[in-house]
Amino acid sequence: MHRQSPILRWRRYPERYRLEGNKCLECSQIYFPKKELCECGCKSFVNYKLKGEGKILTFTEIKSSPEEFSEMTPYCVGIIELEDGPKITAQIADADVTCLKVGDKVESTFRKFTAVGDSGVIHYGLKFKKAKSSIN
């Protein structure tokens, strides 16, 4: 991922900060990120805040990362299937790769993504971490 301007990131706060997707008014399909055209052909949606709970479908450890994530490296990234349906790719926080397994329950947690140098903007967003019931 290349570095994005603070303004571009700012426009995506609803999804990055609050897992805001949308839901088709016709067939109730939930999308994250938001879509403008549903698989059913409908174009009418309402905003829908996803619950932030789900399970790990697959995961990997990133050992060589883009420079902006170097402070956190190594870190884990996974595909999470949310209880609401959508699947998303996200960092898995507070986790060593050896303690993760497919099917682990995870929950969203608000974290720092990157800070641009010592004077740039700090980027925040949602990561996922193992829910307590999945620990051990």
Binding site: Y13, Y17, R18, E20, K49, E71, M72, A93, D94, T109, F110, R111, K112, F113, I122, Y124, K127, K129, K132, I135
Partner: protein
């Protein structure tokens, strides 16, 4: 005559990071006597923030639980005041970021407060005054910190990370703890400070005790008792600022409080000093364990120096709120230890 308030807590929540370091490991790394240190501080272990955590991320997680328990839409909050001495930005509001993440919208008043370890209770007083004065219906007050001490300094054993959030309202059917009174004492005392752009604070060692912490905590609590006519033993729970395990015990003893009154209010032993989060974490733990109709005395302390004192009384609604959301005890049992080297790596980013 002190004014009696008609407001209360409708939601409360806390957050501490998952990682911990044992006091033993810090002492060994610094070639210091483990038993001596533990005896002096009464801290077994402390929380360590991960590299991607700061006072804002801690505040967000604590506030989410507070909102869940308050049972109101984030859009109903019309003020957010966040107190910390580790605001991630020197200039850019932490409270504004927290409001955006919670989905409060844009119709809210906001500011960040700073008064060493009492920035959170100062925020609580400000929100309380605004609700009492009917400027707002609901406000969010937060105290959170990712504090740290330089390697080898006494502070390294206690400086920890965590925070707590409280939603204040005036609707009796939603209030789980009435805030009855608050007052403060403040004096210009040079016990502990951190200049701009300095990574670590400076402090006057032993002077931070008698002339600073004890003087303010005791005199402010006594002033409150004098003003309201309550006796210390009238309270079911006493919560005092807890920079280590020993100070609140000693202050409580001087005030005539029993160990039983401190049962839920002292949480520093397994968390460390969370600065602006410290006394509010104790309060949240009390609220998570209290019975209806119990009286709570809370006195914070912030270096520089001052104390804020509150008298709070739980209502019937407390039992329902206790069934919702993550409790401090859940966070305490969800932990992973790091060694000293990992710990230094994790905290080197702070500030």
């Amino acid at each position: 005559m002190i004014k009696k308030l008609n407001i209360g807590i409708t939601g409360f929540g806390c957050y501490i990071p998952r990682f911990r370091i044992r006091t033993d490991d810090i002492a060994v790394a610094n070639n210091q006597n483990v038993e001596l240190i533990k005896g002096a501080l009464l801290i077994n272990e402390k929380t360590v923030p991960n590299k991607d955590e700061d006072a804002i991320t801690i505040s967000v997680e604590a506030s989410k639980t507070a909102l869940l328990r308050a049972g109101v839409s984030p859009k109903m909050l019309t003020a957010i005041y966040m107190g910390s001495e580790s605001h991630p930005y020197a200039v850019k509001s932490s409270s504004a970021i927290i409001g955006e993440v919670l989905g409060v919208g844009e119709n809210f008043m906001a500011a960040d407060t700073e008064f060493a370890c009492k920035a959170g209770t100062a925020a609580l007083q400000m929100i309380s005054g605004m609700v009492e004065g009917e400027l707002i219906n609901y406000g969010l007050a937060i105290g959170a910190d990712t504090s740290q001490g330089s390697p080898g300094d006494a502070l390294e054993y206690s400086a920890a990370a965590g925070g707590a959030a409280l939603i204040i309202g005036k609707n009796k059917s939603e209030i789980c703890a009435n805030i009855l009174y608050t007052l403060s004492r403040t004096s210009d005392t040079p016990d502990f400070w951190r200049r701009n752009k300095q990574q670590y604070p400076s402090h006057m060692g032993r002077f931070t005790g008698e002339e600073a912490y004890f003087k303010h905590v005791i005199s402010t609590t006594e002033a409150m008792l004098n003003e309201t006519g309550f006796k210390i033993l009238d309270f079911d729970h006493v919560v005092l600022h807890q920079p280590n395990g020993k100070f609140p015990l000693k202050a409580a003893k001087a005030l005539g409080a029993s160990r039983e009154q401190l049962k839920y209010g002292i949480v520093v032993h397994d968390i460390g000093n969370t600065y602006s989060g410290s006394s509010l974490l104790g309060l949240v733990n009390v609220l998570e364990n209290a019975q209806p109709g119990q009286k709570i005395l809370l006195t914070s302390y912030g270096s520089g120096s001052g104390s804020d004192c509150f008298i709070i009384e739980t209502t019937e609604n407390i039992l329902e709120k206790q069934k919702i959301g993550k409790r401090l005890i859940n966070y305490l049992s969800d932990k992973q230890y790091v060694n000293y080297n990992q710990y230094r790596q994790m905290v080197k980013m702070i500030h």
